[in-house]
């Protein structure tokens, strides 16, 4: 018997992003949809950044998670269009990011406040950070540097 769509989404929502484990691949918005083709479950994944090394690992993690639930035949389809955007981050994902110390993306192009002390006195150190999706910022109130999840 096939599992329900709701079950499959719930299982996928338990697959963490390998670099930012507090958010799931569903929160990140990279799992676009899934379809059945015969007995094969085809999962469409949109990469965040084209060179992100985590992409291969994410595909493997999704396959493994679904196999662990008894789905033998899983195929990951890479879908590049439309391109991934940070607008696809879920509200749950944004809240988890901030609690983890990473400022969530803002349309203005910079964080609205420090994820640690919540001060709005922040300045940019660099547009690039420890992973392709992040930039480095600093809080001028608590003086702590922090990651900002870039708008894309």
């Amino acid at each position: 018997m096939r599992p329900s769509d709701a079950d499959i989404w719930a299982w996928l929502d338990q697959v963490p992003d390998p670099e930012i484990p507090v958010i799931s691949v569903v929160d990140l918005g990279i799992v676009r949809d899934f379809t059945w083709e015969g007995d094969t479950l085809q999962v469409a994944v949109t990469p965040t950044y084209s060179g992100c090394p985590a992409t291969t690992l994410i595909a493997l993690d999704i396959e493994t998670a679904l196999r662990d639930r008894g789905l033998e035949d899983v195929r990951i389809q890479t879908r590049i269009a439309p391109p991934w955007t940070t607008d696809w981050l879920s509200e749950k994902g944004r809240t988890s990011l901030e609690a983890y110390g990473i400022a969530a993306p803002q349309p203005s192009g910079g964080p609205d406040r420090c994820p640690l002390c919540k001060s709005d006195e922040v300045e940019r150190i660099s547009q690039f950070g420890s992973t392709p999706c992040k930039a480095q910022w600093r809080c001028q109130s608590c003086l702590e540097p922090f990651d900002y999840f870039k708008c894309l």
């Binding site: 990469p47 950044y49 084209s50 060179g51 590049i80 660099s126 690039f128 392709p132 480095q136």
Partner: protein, 249 residues
């Protein structure tokens, strides 16, 4: 095979420049700069996978993106001469990056409306990343140009050295004209005026002077005459696949 030729030009630019800027890995002048260059290289290599993957697909000869990257020789590469030039000092690397980024982003943005939806899809993805590259390389060129006497001298020397390579980006040929006619890609020569204006503004802010003269080096994007630097780069990049054919890990 105009489309194949075009896709190789796109993919070879990003492959060769991505490889060139990874030469700074472990040698950046500051941690932030090091990370920024590594991130840019990663984006460019990711874009290469998409462009050369598509090239291999339209070629229909059973080759893959990896085959095209690792098993072609100098004369088959279609990248601009600019991107294969050696890294020089950090200023020279950033000048090379800026002169490319300022062309790359508008070109990708124009490709988003390509009549070929696969090309439009890759361009839409790549353009988002290229916007970050341009923002940073432009700011760095301005900061170093309008910096100390030493940094200004170095940036002016970099501009004098690299400017004659910028013209090749707009030297259209039959491939460009045929793709423009089919609505697949813009004719690069139509982007030249916009480029000159943007670079002019940047250099003015950077207190740098664009050299006079119309001479430009050419031969990279047609494959007719690469500089000697490309062979050395490929010998490093392709060594493993040449020495151990088919090696995987």
């Amino acid at each position: 095979m105009d489309v194949f030729e075009f896709l190789c030009r796109m993919g070879d630019n990003t492959l060769v420049l991505g490889s060139r800027i990874s030469e700074w890995c472990g040698h950046g002048p500051a941690l932030e700069e090091e990370i920024a260059l590594a991130n840019t290289a990663l984006d460019l290599i990711g874009q290469t996978q998409m462009w050369l993957g598509l090239a291999a697909e339209v070629e229909c000869r059973g080759r893959t993106a990896d085959d095209l990257a690792m098993l072609r020789d100098v004369w088959d590469f279609r990248n601009l001469l600019l991107v294969e030039q050696p890294k020089g000092d950090f200023g020279q690397t950033m000048m090379r990056q800026y002169l490319f980024d300022q062309f790359h982003l508008p070109y990708l943005e124009a490709l988003v409306t390509s009549s070929d939806s696969r090309i439009a899809g890759v361009a839409a993805k790549a353009a988002k990343e290229a916007a970050y590259h341009l923002e940073r390389s432009r700011m760095t060129v301005i900061a170093l140009g309008d910096g100390t006497k030493e940094s200004n001298n170095r940036m002016q020397a970099a501009l004098d050295l690299l400017w004659p390579y910028a013209g090749e980006m707009f030297a259209s040929d039959d491939v460009d004209r045929s793709l423009a006619k089919a609505g697949i890609a813009p004719d690069p020569k139509d982007l030249r005026a916009q480029y000159l204006e943007a670079v002019g503004w940047t250099m003015e802010e950077a207190t740098l002077t664009i050299p006079e003269g119309q001479f430009c080096h050419a031969g990279g994007r047609t494959g007719a005459r690469h500089s000697e630097h490309l062979g050395h780069l490929l010998s490093t990049m392709q060594w493993l696949q040449r020495a151990y054919p088919g090696a995987t890990w």
